[in-house]
Structures are given as C-alpha cells and as structure tokens.
C-alpha cells in the first residue's frame, strides 16, 4: 500500500469533519474490501479515517423495526437471537458472507457504503425497504443504491445505522461464485402484510435491483409456483468467466424460487 495518514476520531462530528475537508480521505469500517484494495495499490488515500471508536455498533429491536449500528459485524448479526427471530433471512445472509475471519471484521455499514454489485447486504436492505441513517439524514433503500460501487452518500457522509422493518417472512438464497464466494445471484425476499419485496444482487451490471414482476406475482400468491413462469431477460446482466448473462438470467428464476420456498 501507499503511505497514508491514519486517524481514529472519537466522535462522529470529528470523523465527518476530516472526511468532508479532504476529498482524498477515506473511511475505514471493517476493511475487508478496503484493506485488500490498499494492499494492491488500487487506492491512494491521503488519510484513512478509522470509524471503530464512534460507538456505532449494536442491534436493537423496537416495535416493528430492527436497528443495526453501521459498525456491527457480520458475525454479530449472524449470531444475534433477535435478528434470527425477527428477520431470519438477514441472519442467514450474514452467516454466509466471506469466511469466519471476514465475518468478524467486516461490517454491515461498510458493505452497504461500498455497494459492491456482488455483495449480499444490498439485497436485504432493498428487499426489506430499510432506511439508511447517516450523520445528517435518512435515505430510503430505494434511493440509496445508484449503480455499482455508487450510493447516495455525499462526500464525508457516514452511515450511523440501518433501520429495517420487520417482515412477516424473509429468506436469502445465494448462488456463490465458486472462486470468490461472492454472489453470482443472491435473492432476498421479504413478505410484509401488504406486499412482497424481492431484491437481487450479483446479477446485474447496475448492481442490486428489485424484481418487480416477481414482487407482483408473489404479492398475489406467496409461493414458488407463483414465479415459476417468469423469465428474466439476460440484457443488462453481468457475464464473466464464471457465469454468462444467460446463466445468471436462468439462475435468477431458480434462486428466487428457492428463496421463496425457504421463506414460506
């Protein structure tokens, strides 16, 4: 990695100040993507601002929502009895990210801010219709993701917590890239009293997206059969040495049905 300055501020305000004042400063959450990127010299920050001392960890349940601190690790989410009881799809999803070491360092806020098109969490946030709480505002999931590695976050804006409505049912199903174990197709489905939301990660060139045709069918009939006839076009999907766009299009159908079957 290139040389950089390192700061570990003790308050959110201080962290925002450093990051806002310097276009080349970068925030460090769990570092499970960022540190490999630094080691490969693919990023040259002036200052790395470590968010570890801002007190942004923890899981709370109140009424109809779960709130997760941005610096909460995947391991904490995967082992949380509250998450398992309220949003089992999220608990399962967190348990499948990376390996043990990654899960004990990587954070939900870091992953969402990075918006890797093959990351798992964006599908949960979008399918659950969650809200990103930052140092300055609330951003609805539908407005947050703006294409691969791009989000609505402004320069210096820090995610503080993630609010997730508690669905009646939820499930996540992941078809892994055999090498990286990221999602080739990951499907998060959430059933609420009024509707069903289903989000797909890993497949699209534009990053995570909602499959509205499936949502409509599932809102009418929450069963795998309801979506078995839905064909997803390959246009706009990723193709690489592991999976063609056509294969991904096919997998969207298969993996979605399995996610619904798991949730039912």
């Amino acid at each position: 990695m290139y040389d950089f300055a390192y700061q570990k501020p003790g308050s959110l305000a201080d962290a925002v100040k450093v990051l806002s004042g310097d276009m080349d400063a970068k925030a460090l959450a769990g570092g499970q993507t960022f540190i490999p990127v630094l080691k490969q010299r693919l990023n040259k920050p002036s200052t790395v601002v470590d968010l570890a001392k801002l007190g942004l960890t923890g899981i709370t349940v109140s009424g109809d929502k779960v709130t997760i601190g941005a610096m909460t690790t995947h391991a904490a989410i995967a082992s949380s009895p509250e998450i398992k009881a309220k949003i089992p799809g999220l608990q399962h999803q967190a348990s499948m990210i990376g390996d043990e070491a990654v899960r004990h360092r990587g954070t939900m806020g870091g992953s969402l801010a990075n918006n890797d098109p093959a990351a798992c969490y964006p599908s949960a946030l979008l399918a659950l219709g969650g809200t990103i709480k930052t140092d300055r505002r609330s951003i609805a999931a539908d407005d947050f993701f703006q294409g691969m590695f791009t989000t609505a976050l402004e320069q210096g804006e820090i995610i503080v917590s993630i609010e997730l409505p508690i669905p009646e049912k939820s499930a996540y199903e992941k078809f892994r890239n055999p090498a990286s174990r990221y999602a080739i197709v990951g499907v998060f489905v959430a059933k609420f009293a009024s509707d069903v939301r289903l989000a797909i990660t890993g497949a699209s060139q534009g990053g995570v997206f909602r499959h509205t045709e499936m949502e409509k069918a599932l809102s009418a009939n929450f069963s795998p059969d309801a979506i078995s006839g839905i064909v997803t076009p390959a246009d706009g999907l990723n193709g690489d040495i592991h999976a063609s766009a056509e294969y991904r299009a096919h997998l969207i159908g298969v993996v979605s049905k399995r996610a619904v079957a798991k949730a039912v």
Binding site: Q40, P178, A179, I241, H250
Partner: protein, 793 residues
C-alpha cells in the same frame, strides 16, 4: 510410546512447530543489513522493448540500485537452463530459445521480469518500480495451444518456426495403423487437459547473501531441491563455483512441483547481493505468483483405440499438443514425453501404442511438472477413453477394464512404451474398491437421488503411474541432463542418537517423521532420538531433492543402504569388544549379539567406542560411526489402483456435489499409514479441484483472466467429501523397502473418476464426453442444449 517403526501411524513431529507458528520459512529469515527487491514485470503478453528509463526510479528515496536485462547481459550472466533435452522424430534437438533472467529485447508473457529495484525497504522498492518507464511496441500474441500451431500463427521466438519446440514420437506408426485397419471397433476421443496454477500455500521467497570477508554466496529459497538449484544457478547462470555457493531451503510450505525449478528471482537476488554487497530479499506476492510460478498440464489430444469384437484393446494411437508457455522451464520438456507418453499403456495389455507429441510455445507463463506431472494427463486420457469405448460399443465399463488388465502373474511386464512394470495386482484393487464403494448398490442410490430431483452418477478410474524417479542411466538416455539417484548420511552420535542427512526435501510430506521411522526399525533407536536434516547444501550430501514421489522409494532406500554400512561397521567394533569373530555377530533391536550366547552390546555402547576408541581395532578400522550411501534405483516404481467417485448434479443449476470418493491404492510398503492416507486425501482434493473447479484462463490476446483467488477456484474443505482411503499393496521388487510412493496417486487417479461420474450422471442427456473443469455453468449449458433433443425424442 508404542511401536514407532515401519508400519506405525506415528504423529508427525514437524507439525508441532508448523501448527504453533514456529516454522522457519524463508520469509521468516532476515539477514543483517538486508535490502528488498521488487521485480518490475511485463503487463504485456508480447511486446518489443524499445527502451527502459530507470532514471526516476534510481533517484527515488531508499533505492540502492536498479538493474535491467542489459546489466546481466554485460556480465555474461547466462539464461535459465533447461534440464532435459528432447529430440524430435527427425533426430533434431528440441528448440531451446534463450530464457534470460531479465527480459532482453522482448517480453513474451504477462509477468515476464523486466527490471529489479533494490531498496532499503520493500515499500520504497515498490514505489520506485512504479517510476520505471518501459517503452513497448505491442506485438500480436498467441495464448491458446491450438491457435499457436495454425499456419501463419504469431511466433513467440525468432528461429522457432510454427512455435514447435519439438515434434516427438514413440511407437511404430505403420504397425499401429495396420492394427487399426483390421479392427472390429475404433473409438475416437478429442480431449483437453486443463491448465492449472499450482498455488502452494507459501508463495516463493528468495534471499541472496554475500559474505564480504569470505566471498561466499548464500541463497535462501523456497525450493524442493537445493542442490539442483546450486548446480543450475552456480554452474550455468552465475558462474559461482559450488564451494562458494550455499543454497538453503528451510521449511517450505508446499510445492507440488512448482518449487522444483530454477527461477529468475533466485539468480537475481544472489547476483544482486554480490553487486550491492548486502543481502537482498524478494518475497513473491500472491497475485505475482499467479503470473510467475510455473503452471501445470495444458494438453490438447486426440486418442483412438482399436478393439477386437470381444473388446480386447488392440492398439492405441494418440496425438497431443503440449503447452510449454513462453520459455522452457527446468524440466518442462520431459513432462509430456517421458512422464506422459510412456504411461499410456496404463494398467492395460494394449500390445501396440503410437504417440506423437508436439510441444508448443505460447505467450503464457512457462508450464512444467505439477503434482503427477504427465501421469494425470495420461490417466485422464486413458480412463476417459475406456469409458467412451464402453459408451460407444456397449461393453460394460468394469468388464472392459477387467478384460484388458495386465494379469497379476504377468510381472515383470514390458509395455510397448518403454517401461517395464515390476509388480501390481489391478484385479484386486478394483475388486476391493468396488466393494468399498458399494458399486452394486449404486442404482438404488441413483433412484433415491432422482426422487430428490438430483442426477447421480458413479465413475471409475483404474490407473497406474511411474514414480520413484529414477534410474540415472535410463533418464540420461531419455534426455535428462541430471542423475536422479538419492543420498543419505547416517550419523550415529557417541551416545547413540542419530542424525539423518537426506538429499530429499520435505515441504509438507512429513519426512522428519517417516524417515525417522526407518531408523527406528533398522537401528532400533528410539523415535525421539532421531533427527532428520534436509534442505541445506552446507549440511547434506549432494542429493536431488523431492518430486515424483521419490523420497521414500529412492531417498529411503539410500538410508537403508547407509544403515547397512553402519551395522556392518558396528559388527566389527562389537566383535572386537566381545572378543568374537565378526561372522558371529548378529544385529537386531538395537543390539549386537554374539550368536548363540547372551553376550551383547547396545548400539550406544558401540558408538561410544567408535568415538572414544581406547579399546578399538584402530589398526583395521577408522574411528567414528557415520556412513553415507548413494542409491541409484534400478527402475521406476509403479503405484496404481482404483478410484471411484460418486456425484450428484442439480439439474436446475448444473452444480456438481461430490458425495462419495473411494480410493484403493497400491503404494508398496507403507511406513506410516496415517501419512499415506493424508497424502492420498490431499492428492484427491487436488484432483477434484482439477476436475470440477480449477481453470487457468487466458483471453486470446494473452491476458491472464484467472489471476487471483477471486477468479481462480481452488477447492475448499467443504468441496471435498469424506473419503474412503485404503491400500492393497504389492511390494516394489527392486528397492530394499518395497515402497512405491504415494505423493501423487491421488492427483493422478481421481480426475477421470470424477468426470466419468459426471458423464454417467448426465447420461440421460446423451453426454459422451466433457472437458474439465465440470463447472455448474458448463453443465447447465450442456443440459440446456440437450433438453430440446430430449423433448423431441
């Protein structure tokens, strides 16, 4: 402590330090005043170098020196030598284009080293390397084997027309063609053996050290064979005499063949240490290793078998293209010839065989031996071909194998492709494997799987390999530029403990345990009083290292011979001390006894007398008890056996799950059953990796697409099923231990078993053959393509 000699599953003594973080790997070594080297590598597959501007890099903070190819050329530093010469069918020697340590004039693959920066810190060296400006003119490149041999293809080297390194044959084509002309059945198969990247857990490291007072050079390196490196680098590259050059290969974290070869970085750090008169360390980064460690496999073949009406194999005809990469790595030419074509009789009594191998240069990383080396390629071809014969002719695939096996009473058996097998019993390994795998119960398991929506298949591979390399005169006649004997020194210390100095090298195999067990059994010395030393040319005699499953069969045999000498000398000392004649002294269980009496002396008493020779036959016998033996094997060894794989495929996704794996191997005498089981398991895991996951991909322009673990799929623990591993051994007849070797059998026998199982699972889709790796994406495409055909039927 129970029995710890030959046959005991003694726990590996080296694992205590490996598992507690106390191993001493090359990267753990740091020399006083050490500098750091970073290699500037080509990012182009093929380009002319118009100029290299090192001014900014040389002036960068902390930089001591920057060297380019011209600096080495000016000092007449040699290119990296090739250790094996093949002759083409017309008698001409293979094309052996220069392989400069740092590129001169052109770069020929992504990763080709162009310059080296030596600086006070690694960080400074990396910073400076980014400042080197190389003016390239890109040239068209060729990465794919079949593209490289079409007329008019881009030529990787001037003076190597058509990219052909050699065009080699074995067997009589006219005779084989004649057999085909009269055959009842001819079955033909085109197949590819996929290119692999070895990925040892420990990346390569090299540290050059120069002693300014003595003028001695030391190279610390991640090598499987330090003496070979000393010879190649000292004699052919740097021109340093052996007495001034020491090579140390300490703990090494896996090699699988990729650490046999002499690499450019070893020469660079050693030479540079002499120039800057300080130690120079280079540590390979993982992404760098993908483009600089020798790759494996990469064959394209056509195989044809002629059969009579009853299904007896009459003749085999094969043409193979073998990728050499951009330059010849140390033993590359031997792999597709004498480690491949000579294995194509397999376990079958096929009377005539003709093989034509063309070795081909491409703009890719050099290719050389990787666990199994040639034998996995031969086995995959043969065992796929036998299954395809069964598919095409209707013969049962097990009966077909049984019918064509070399019978157990036919040994020694001379094959039509040069090798003479000493022992084996293929009917027995087959029979036991079929029983262990519950072959008979498979159709019930297939039906049960179908009920769960899964396609279940079973596949068999009855294989043989040749290892324990090798008789020096034989390999010399085949083109080897080295001898392949092994050496051991047995030093019995005054108080009776023993140090073994072996020319073999352990990089994960557990030699410190296995070789110590030989001493326990032969000299009766307790296990914890035996130390095995390897990997340092300043300590061990000139040995050839570890590869080709040779350490026990060849290195262990050298130990037996050296211990024979210890016992013979000990008997003379014992006879003197006990006032008996030498002929009357017997040695057993660590004691010298006068036959027919109760008079005896323990080995420790004899060794003490040997080093404190007060009462000693000093007129007839030298003091000391320290014996060395060189052992040159009389033949290769021939492990073999039967592997059976069982898979389930999800037809919706194409994904294969390994559900069962059964191995029954014949590895000769087993010294440590636990270590043999582990070696087979590890080899099978690599075989499953090749069969289902691993693929080194280049795009047509020569860019490496699978250049990291994000894109190159290594098998993980949860991809590997629980395995049933057993042995049914016949003894090697020509070495004193009877051992054959077990390091490679797993990687050799398993890939065709897995693919045969996958093809079997897909039989309702009309699949006759598919190439490795059988990824979900590939199988899904095959299933998709077959569906309309099935619907039409």
């Amino acid at each position: 402590m129970g029995f710890q000699g030959i046959g005991a599953s003694v726990r590996r003594k080296e694992d205590v330090r490996f598992l507690s973080g106390k191993g001493n790997y090359t990267d753990d070594i740091n020399r006083p005043g050490q500098l750091y080297a970073v290699i500037k590598r080509s990012d182009r597959p093929h380009a002319k170098i118009n100029g290299i501007d090192i001014a900014a890099a040389s002036a960068a903070p902390g930089v001591v020196r920057v060297f380019v190819g011209a600096d080495l050329a000016a000092e007449e530093i040699g290119g990296l030598p090739c250790g094996w010469q093949i002759h083409s069918k017309d008698g001409s020697p293979m094309a052996e284009p220069p392989h400069p340590v740092l590129a001169v004039g052109k770069v020929r693959h992504v990763g080709d080293p162009v310059a080296v920066v030596i600086a006070e810190t690694k960080q400074q060296a990396k910073n400076a390397a980014e400042l080197i400006e190389i003016d390239y003119s890109d040239l068209p490149a060729v990465a794919n084997l079949t593209d490289a041999v079409v007329p008019g293809a881009v030529e990787v080297h001037d003076g190597v027309p058509g990219n052909i390194c050699y065009d080699w044959v074995i067997g009589d084509k006219a005779v084989v063609d004649g057999v085909f002309a009269g055959a009842a059945h001819v079955v033909k198969l085109d197949l590819v053996n996929n290119r692999l990247i070895p990925n040892a857990m420990e990346p390569r490291v090299a540290i050059g050290d120069f002693d300014t007072s003595s003028g001695d050079f030391t190279l610390y390196t991640t090598s499987q064979n330090p003496h070979v490196i000393r010879l190649l680098m000292g004699a052919f590259v740097l021109h340093i005499p052996e007495n001034k050059l020491r090579v140390v290969a300490p703990d090494v974290g896996g090699g699988f063949g990729s650490k046999i070869y002499h690499y450019a970085e070893e020469a660079i750090v050693t030479w540079a240490a002499g120039k800057v008169r300080r130690p120079v360390k280079w540590t390979c980064e993982r992404s760098e290793s993908f483009m600089s460690d020798a790759h494996g496999r990469d064959h394209v073949s056509t195989a044809e078998m002629a059969l009579d009406a009853e299904g007896h194999f009459l003749g085999l005809r094969i043409t193979t293209l073998a990728n050499m990469g951009a330059y010849l790595s140390t033993f590359a030419p031997a792999v597709p010839t004498y480690l491949y074509a000579t294995l194509l009789a397999g376990v079958y009594k096929t009377p005539v065989i003709y093989v034509n191998v063309k070795a081909v240069f491409t703009n890719t990383v050099p290719v050389d031996a990787y666990r199994g080396a040639g034998r996995p390629e031969a086995t995959f071809l043969l065992e796929r071909l036998v299954d395809v014969i069964a598919h095409d002719t209707g013969f049962d695939k097990v009966d077909l194998r049984r019918k064509n096996f070399i019978p157990a009473d036919a040994f020694p058996y001379q094959t039509p492709v040069a090798l003479q097998y000493d022992s084996g019993d293929y009917q027995t390994t087959l029979r036991v494997a079929l029983a262990n795998a519950d072959w008979e119960g498979f159709e019930a398991r297939r039906a049960a799987a179908k009920g769960r929506g899964k396609l279940r298949g079973i596949g068999i591979s009855t294989y043989l390999e040749a290892c324990g390399i090798a008789p020096s005169a034989v390999v010399g006649s085949l083109g080897a530029r080295a001898g392949l004997y092994e050496v051991a020194e047995i030093r019995v210390h005054p108080t009776g403990s023993v140090t073994v100095f072996t020319g073999t090298h352990s990089h994960g195999q557990g030699h410190e345990t296995t070789l110590a067990q030989l001493v326990v059994s032969q000299l009766g010395v307790p296990f914890d009083q035996v130390e095995v030393v390897h990997g340092d040319t300043a300590k061990i005699p000139f040995g050839m290292g570890t590869y080709g499953s040779r350490s026990l069969a060849v290195g262990g045999s050298a130990m037996v011979k050296a211990m024979d000498k210890v016992i013979a000398k000990g008997k003379k000392i014992a006879a003197h001390l006990m006032e008996a004649s030498v002929e009357d002294i017997e040695f057993a269980d660590g004691k010298f006894t006068v036959a027919g009496t109760d008079k005896s002396k323990a080995l420790a008493e004899i060794s003490l007398a040997a080093y404190v020779p007060h009462n000693y036959p000093i007129e007839e016998l030298e003091p000391g008890l320290d014996e060395t033996a060189f052992y040159d094997p009389k033949n290769f060894t021939f492990p073999g056996g039967c592997h059976i794989a069982e898979v389930e495929i999800d037809p919706e996704t194409g994904v294969v799950e390994m559900v069962n794996f059964t191995a029954v191997d014949d590895v000769g005498r087993v010294v440590n059953p636990m270590i043999v089981e582990g070696q087979v398991q590890g080899g099978v895991a690599q075989g499953i990796g090749q069969a289902l996951m691993e693929a080194c991909n280049y795009d047509p322009s020569g860019q490496l697409l699978s250049g990291s673990f994000m894109d190159y799929t290594m098998p993980r623990a949860n991809d590997i099923p629980n395995m049933s591993v057993a042995t049914e051994n016949t003894m090697c007849t020509h070495n004193p231990l009877g051992s054959k070797g077990c390091g490679e059998v797993g990687a050799i026998g398993s890939p065709p078993a897995v693919i045969n199982a996958v093809v079997d699972a897909l039989k309702e889709y009309g699949v006759r053959h598919l190439d490795m790796p059988a990824t979900g994406a590939k199988l899904w495409s095959i299933i998709q393509a077959a569906r309309p055909l099935m619907a039409a039927e």
